[in-house]
């Protein structure tokens, strides 16, 4: 049986599943790589392979608002929005995660409310928030209604991650620290935070990317000025040049930088900790 750490030759299922896995990874990344390459298309402006006279002209075009939409403006809204959502998601879902470690009245109701908020179709929520703001006489804006719409989707994710993380933090660790004479603050600093910290980075990563890439929940809630995914959506219908691919490359690079920072810092923390032992 391959399932265990018993050694010996691998069964045929290993090779079959390894092949499946490889094909899946190609399926996942292949199209992204195609777009990456084609964003360097030359002046032929062809949207398909082959790549002729590679150039950076479409990246240049991208930040030239006369030709394409308001890409830099959209980027200038999406980035701060994602950062705000990230910070709030970490603060709110981490504290809420701790609350759920105790039994309290309404815990189940709040839990199911969060799950419902996660699975309610984004479009339904978008309409709801728009209507709410209309009745309150407020205008929809990316930093008000847009922010709330993104939080309603990022917070439940953060909460689920905190559940997974805090499941590993047995209360007996804290009790042991108290019994050994640690103050409350010391327990949090030396016992709780080190266990929870990598999870908090994961929550931050989710908060940022869920907001940065969110489309259905942004659609009616960000007001008259588009965030980046909405701008890309408009471009898919009216821009028929590799500038669209160039934009894809730029946003993907931003996402990859964020992912690299998050994963890199988790690795560094883990390494520091194992060295400290």
């Amino acid at each position: 049986m391959s399932a265990s750490h018993s050694y010996g030759s691998r069964p045929w299922t290993f090779y079959a599943l390894a092949l499946l896995f490889t094909l899946f990874v190609i399926f996942l990344y292949g199209p992204m790589i195609a777009v990456l390459i084609l964003s360097f298309q030359g002046p032929s402006a062809s949207l398909v392979f082959p790549l002729r006279d590679p150039s950076l002209m479409w990246f240049d075009e991208l930040f030239n608002p006369r030709r394409v939409g308001d890409v830099s403006g959209a980027f200038g809204r999406s980035l701060p929005l994602a950062l705000i959502v990230m910070v709030l998601t970490v603060l709110i879902s981490v504290t809420a995660g701790f609350a759920f470690r105790r039994r309290f009245k309404g815990a189940t109701a709040i839990f199911y409310m969060a799950i419902a908020s996660l699975i309610v179709p984004g479009l339904v929520l978008s309409i709801g928030i728009l209507v709410t703001f209309r009745y309150l006489g407020l205008s929809a804006n990316w930093y008000t209604s847009g922010l709330g719409a993104h939080l309603s989707w990022a917070l439940p994710f953060g909460l689920l991650i905190m559940f997974a993380i805090l499941g590993r933090l047995s209360p007996s660790y804290e009790e042991a620290a108290y019994d050994l004479g640690a103050s409350k603050w010391r327990t949090v600093k030396d016992v709780v935070v080190p266990i929870v910290f990598p999870g908090m980075i994961a929550v931050a990563l989710f908060g940022f990317t869920l907001s940065y890439d969110e489309f259905p929940r942004s659609w009616l809630t960000v007001g008259t000025k588009n965030t980046l995914p909405l701008e890309i959506w408009t471009m898919t219908t009216n821009v028929t040049s590799p500038a669209l691919y160039a934009l894809g490359t730029v946003t993907t690079v931003v996402s990859f930088i964020v992912i690299a920072i998050a994963l890199g810092s988790i690795v560094i923390i883990q390494r520091k900790r194992s060295r400290g032992k």
Binding site: A3, M113, I127
Partner: protein, 291 residues
């Protein structure tokens, strides 16, 4: 769970959970409630939304054959995508948990699967164009190798490309929860099953699968709700040829007919909630998560 919470610690607990509750009430409960209220309002040309209590919007929608055909088409997509993502997700998670012997390699490969989740969905949809298009990579390869003479038309802007995009976008939502439940399975259980004479297939069917049901349920919940509530993938990938359950909402909103859009939204919500309840009936997700 700590034993008997004192009054002071109970207050702390409520303070800790208050911000979450507040955000969810303001940006989820109230908006959804308002959608339900507005769905009973009346829409009048040039005037707009008129407060009322009428079920006309619902009658309109439910007697319209288009609504039914759109829902049937969406349910068909949901079912196809659910089956494909489940099979892929289960076996990929199985490969990572039980076949990859080195934990670091397993984590690395797992991350490889999850990285695209953190990138833009729209860009990932668009990226199929140069692959599936008439002059795309697949058609060119097939023509160059002489398998076909003229490009396959059904690769892009078809039901096929819609399914491809859904699988591309949503398989992650299956892999992650299934991987999570699978990695908690005690490996000695499998050895015990083998020692007791189980076949390899028997172990998968009788041990691994039942122990992963929480993960499968969560994954199915995500996939069902994402596909049911989708408008954008269908419209980009089908080139506007196919509709989805949300198409009606989209059309009504363009004519500012909020009441009927709201009624459509409520119907969609009820269908999604029914499916979600069915899934929750099968598995107590909360209990399993807290495990």
């Amino acid at each position: 769970m700590s034993p008997t919470p004192t009054r002071k610690s109970l207050l702390t607990t409520y303070l800790q959970v208050a911000p979450l509750t507040l955000v969810l009430i303001c940006f989820f409960v109230v908006p959804v409630a308002l959608v339900v209220v507005v769905s009973f309002f009346r829409y009048q040309m040039l005037v707009g939304i008129v407060p009322d209590f009428t079920i006309r919007n619902y009658v309109d929608l439910l007697t319209n054959p288009t609504t039914w055909s759109l829902y049937i088409s969406t349910l068909k997509f949901t079912l196809i995508v659910l089956v494909i993502t489940f099979v892929l997700g289960f076996w990929i998670a199985y490969f990572l948990v039980f076949h990859v012997r080195n934990l670091l390699v397993a984590i690395g490969l797992f991350l490889l699967c999850t990285v695209p989740f953190w990138t833009s969905n729209i860009i990932r949809m668009i990226s199929w164009r140069p692959v599936l298009g008439k002059e795309g990579l697949i058609n060119n390869a097939l023509i160059n190798t002489g398998i076909i003479d003229s490009p396959l038309q059904w690769l892009l802007y078809s039901d096929f490309s819609v399914v491809v995009a859904y699988v591309h976008l949503f398989t992650l939502f299956m892999i992650v929860p299934i991987f999570n439940s699978m990695s908690r399975i005690d490996k000695s259980l499998l050895e015990a099953a083998i020692d007791a004479g189980a076949t390899r297939w028997g172990v998968v069917w009788n041990v691994v699968l039942p122990l992963c049901k929480t993960g499968i349920a969560l994954g199915a919940l995500f996939v069902v709700t994402l596909v049911m509530g989708d408008f954008f993938v269908v419209s980009v990938m089908s080139g506007g040829l196919s509709g989805s359950a949300t198409s009606g909402i989209f059309n009504d909103l363009q004519f500012l007919n909020y009441p009927r859009a709201a009624a459509s939204a409520v119907i969609l919500l009820i269908v999604v909630l029914m499916i979600a309840t069915a899934i929750f009936r099968l598995v107590d997700v909360r209990k399993e998560l807290a495990r």
